[in-house]
């Protein structure tokens, strides 16, 4: 009779060896690991981690926005850029601009010294060519130009003559824009990276990713040009013909593809110098590389939209009750402390304008309003249908907020996660849903941009809410500038928040992780930091480590 298993000795040995090896890995050193030295040829090359697919095509948009903007703005230069501190537009490819007396036409004078990366002069025709191409792209990017006369009709192909579009090259260096209606934010909108010009050979280089095999074929007008593109990222080098070449301190920029969760580790290991945006919680660094965190407010609002065409939601008292019953700070503290902040108005803080405090939370008042509307303690209130995209399933906020409605008001909500195609069918002019949750991102540092969401036609509007006075105020604001405009926008915002077609819930704070040697970083609420302004101040010892293959 045996008392031990009759196992072959080598099975036991194999299991023990495997277990020992695993134990070594699981219990291996996780601190004070060596920082990978910067390769000598990359002494002045900024290395940026990005997670999702990036395309060097300025007329397509990829996400996250910050990585897209940084990459595109390295390669391309729009007509203007916005001052991150004041939000005011300032010259980029255009050196000056002037409005017509009726403010329906804008004439821009391009820099005479602007050059493509192959040395060709950047002309007004290049912008005209680029923008016409943009209008042939998908609606989500093409709409950037819808302020121009006939632009939307050209995109929808109800008008096919490109000469009728409100963008015209008057001469080599003069571009004239004609607007469908007055729009005071137009110049700031021209800083959008989507509004890049296109070299006459550009479309060919972008078609079929020809730039992968021949990076030099992609001619760009930005501070950097493409040197290499492959599956692991892009290598850019300073463009020798860029008009501001003297101010560019970097020899190049490498965009290195990395998993979002691993990017901070790459920074600590010395593989990259910038991680933006940095997501997830802070974790102990395995190395002693000095890293700093930069935080900036995002010009966007996360909100709950009510379909004001549906049932009890037609009653403003019901919408106010639902808004008052919510809790913002609690869920943020549980789910995203440091990354989200409660939203008490529709427009967050932005350059030149501090956010207002227009909303509050008051469960008792919410119950009173709901009772006044005929639903005491939620009795008789129909179940609300909240449609969310499938990818939003892990998002903990909607279940938390709707649970709050039930606890405070007795209002039940059915959250439906469904594919985009099914959700699209719900987006009729009337809207086949009660509640939506989403986020609206500004493209210009201006309160009017976010507020204009309430002016969208019913076909696109999530709330289906419209108000003549609100429209009047917004139109009036579009004709004004400065304090006068801000005052009108504030009135419009107050009006919208009293009607509660949507409840602003959270504003986001974007975080970037930077190596200590990265200098010149600045906060930009639109995440349009121009990397040409950064520099590396490194004292690290160079060696011959080639780093990751690119």
């Amino acid at each position: 009779m045996t008392t031990t298993p009759r196992l072959h000795w080598w099975i036991s040995l194999a299991l023990l060896s495997l277990g020992g090896l695993m134990a070594m890995i699981f219990l291996g050193p996780r601190q004070s690991l060596p920082v990978l030295p910067r390769p000598p040829e990359e002494a002045d090359v900024l290395r940026v981690a990005y997670a999702q697919k990036l395309l060097p095509d300025p007329h397509q948009r990829t996400f996250p926005v910050s990585a897209h903007n940084h990459f595109i703005l390295c390669l391309w230069e729009p007509l203007v850029e916005c001052d991150p501190a004041t939000g005011e537009p300032r010259p980029a490819a255009a050196e000056s601009w002037s409005w017509s007396p009726d403010r329906l036409a804008l004439t821009l004078k391009l820099r005479a010294d602007a050059r493509w990366s192959n040395g060709d002069a950047v002309t007004a025709q290049d912008f005209e060519r680029g923008w016409r191409r943009l209008l042939r792209q998908r609606m989500d990017v093409a709409q950037t130009l819808f302020a121009l006369k006939n632009a939307e009709a050209f995109h929808r192909q109800t008008m096919t003559d490109p000469e009728q579009i409100g963008v015209k090259a008057i001469d080599l260096l003069t571009l004239r824009l004609e607007l469908a209606q007055v729009r005071s934010t137009l110049v700031a909108e021209l800083a959008d990276p989507l509004l890049a010009p296109l070299h006459r050979d550009g479309a060919q280089a972008l078609a079929g990713n020809a730039y992968v095999d021949d990076p030099g074929s992609l001619v760009t007008n930005g501070p950097f040009c493409l040197r290499e593109a492959n599956a692991t990222g892009y290598r850019l080098q300073a463009s020798p013909y860029y008009h501001g070449r003297a101010e560019v301190r970097l020899a190049g920029v490498r965009f290195i593809r990395a998993n979002t969760s691993v990017a901070p580790l790459l920074l600590a290991a010395g593989v990259v110098d910038v991680v933006s945006p940095a997501l997830g919680e802070d974790r102990p660094s395995p190395t002693n590389r000095a890293v700093r965190k930069e935080t900036e407010l995002v010009l966007a609002v996360n909100s709950i939209a009510f379909n004001v065409n549906r049932g009890p939601l037609r009653d403003v008292r019901v919408r106010q009750a639902l808004a008052l019953a919510l809790d913002r700070a609690g869920p943020i503290a549980r789910f995203n402390p440091g990354r989200m902040t409660p939203a008490w108005s529709w427009v967050p803080d932005m350059p030149g304008r501090t956010g207002l405090v227009l909303l509050r939370e008051d469960g008792e008042e919410a119950r009173r309003l709901l009772a006044d509307a005929g639903y005491p303690a939620g009795r008789g209130f129909p179940i609300l249908e909240m449609s969310l995209p499938l990818w939003m399933k892990p998002d903990p906020y909607p279940p938390d907020w709707t649970e709050r409605w039930y606890r405070e008001l007795g209002v039940r909500t059915h959250i439906i996660y469904e594919p985009a195609s099914v959700r699209a069918q719900r987006m009729t002019p009337i809207g086949e849903y009660d509640v939506l949750y989403g986020n609206l991102i500004a493209t210009v540092p201006d309160a009017g941009d976010l507020l204009s969401g309430f002016l969208w036609p019913a076909e696109y509007s999530e709330t289906k809410w419209s108000d003549k006075e609100f429209a009047r105020l917004m139109n009036e604001a579009n004709r004004k500038t400065g304090a006068e405009r801000l005052s009108l926008l504030e009135k419009a915002e107050r009006l919208a928040m009293e009607a509660v077609p949507a409840v602003p819930m959270m504003f986001e704070q974007r975080q970037a992780l930077l190596a200590a040697e990265v200098q010149g970083w600045y906060a930009d609420p639109l995440a349009r930091q121009s990397l040409k302004r950064l520099r590396l101040e490194t004292t690290a010892t160079m060696n011959s480590n080639p780093g990751p293959r690119l």
């Binding site: 298993p5 196992l7 890995i25 580790l265 790459l266």
Partner: protein, 379 residues
């Protein structure tokens, strides 16, 4: 290939070699696809990236293709320790932990390669995966479920094998029992034949002494026919009543020569009973007893009546003689070879479903009754 190596076309799926071949082919194919896809990266081509290879993008669950045979093999080996079940539980638990650890390390390794980090960062990556909720414990669950299923299947197979063995043993036992009964019956018949033969030969001797040679010849001829039929009887444990009665006719033909005109034989046989199955030579000992202890003991006795009737599911066979009553001594009655052997044969063939009863019948005579199940041979 010898007969022993040939594969039963019906049970091919039980052949481990086929599954091993499939697994080997699959593993080679899988390896070829993965390596072929990753070759540009392995060869250091500038446009290639580990991130875009199937090695990185294919789900790690593909690893189960390699692990399942190892699991099967391990389960087979560890099943040796089944009687020490705590050991088996511990070893399977450890294996589950090791497999889970392997999956986690491979996930970490993939992240490492996809993000251009050196191998020294693997422990950090593995711990980062934990922070990110990337420690997937599903492999442990899958392994334990697999092992559970294997044990369940193994136990089921053993149970089925046991069932089959029990069935086979039962059949073998029944066959053995049948052969034993047949052997016993033959042995009993062998007891009967000499007894009958002795009496008949005595009769023949008596006939010859009395110069009744013609009758002696008839008896010898009848005896020959009887012995022939008797030999036929040995092949079958049961015969039809009709067959048994024919045999009895031959026997009584001999006996009637002995008793000359004094014997009157009456048959009262219900027609439906002729096809009934009865043990061979079951009536002959009773008839012989009726002749020996009844008719031959009383000069006035002369009637021998044989009857057969059906009573529902039972067959009632009766042998009556109008001779003297039964002896009072039960022991003497029971010692008679004919009665004893008949009782034994009925018991062996029918158990408690058959019985023999001897009793006096008023005003005189003795009646022997056999009650047994009414059975016929299905056409």
């Amino acid at each position: 290939m010898t007969n022993g190596d040939s594969i039963d076309p019906v049970l091919w799926w039980r052949d481990g070699r086929i599954w091993l071949s499939v697994w080997l082919a699959g593993t080679i194919g899988l390896g070829a696809v993965l390596l072929g896809d990753a070759w540009p990266w392995l060869a250091g081509e500038p446009q290639a990236s580990f991130r875009d290879t199937k090695l990185n993008s294919w789900p790690l669950s593909a690893l189960w293709w390699v692990l399942v045979p190892a699991g099967l093999w391990l389960q087979k080996n560890l099943s040796l320790v089944d009687r020490r079940w705590p050991w088996a539980v511990i070893l399977h638990g450890l294996t589950a932990v090791l497999i889970t650890g392997l999956f986690i390390i491979l996930a970490g390794g993939r992240m490492l390669l996809a993000n251009h980090l050196p191998a020294g960062y693997l422990p950090v990556m593995v711990q980062d995966l934990r922070w990110l909720g990337g420690w997937n414990y599903t492999p442990a669950l899958v392994y334990l479920l697999l092992i559970f299923a294997l044990y369940a299947f193994s136990f089921y197979r053993e149970w089925r094998a046991g069932q089959r063995l029990t069935g086979a043993l039962r059949v073998a036992n029944a066959q053995l029992e049948t052969r034993l009964v047949r052997a016993s019956l033959d042995a009993l018949k062998m007891q009967l034949h000499p007894h009958f033969l002795f009496n008949t030969l005595n009769s023949i001797t008596s006939l010859i002494r009395n110069h009744r040679t013609r009758e002696a010849e008839d008896v010898v001829a009848g005896l020959g026919e009887l012995l022939r039929r008797s030999l036929d009887h040995k092949q079958e444990a049961r015969v039809t009543l009709e067959h048994e009665l024919e045999f009895l006719h031959r026997y009584l033909d001999i006996e009637s020569i002995r008793f000359q005109d004094r014997l009157r034989v009456e048959f009262d046989i219900a027609p439906q009973c002729l096809a009934a199955q009865v043990p061979g030579l079951i009536l002959q000992p009773l008839v012989e007893n009726a002749m020996k202890h009844g008719i031959s003991k009383d000069p006035a006795a002369r009637v021998l009546r044989i009857s057969a009737a059906r009573d529902g599911t039972r067959l009632l066979l009766t042998v009556y003689n109008d001779g003297p009553p039964l002896p009072k001594d039960d022991a003497e009655l029971a010692r008679g070879i004919g009665v004893q052997s008949t009782v034994t044969r009925l018991q062996m063939l029918y158990g408690d479903d058959a019985r023999l009863r001897l009793r006096d019948q008023a005003p005189h005579g003795v009646r022997a009754e056999i009650i047994l199940p009414f059975q016929t041979v299905s056409p």
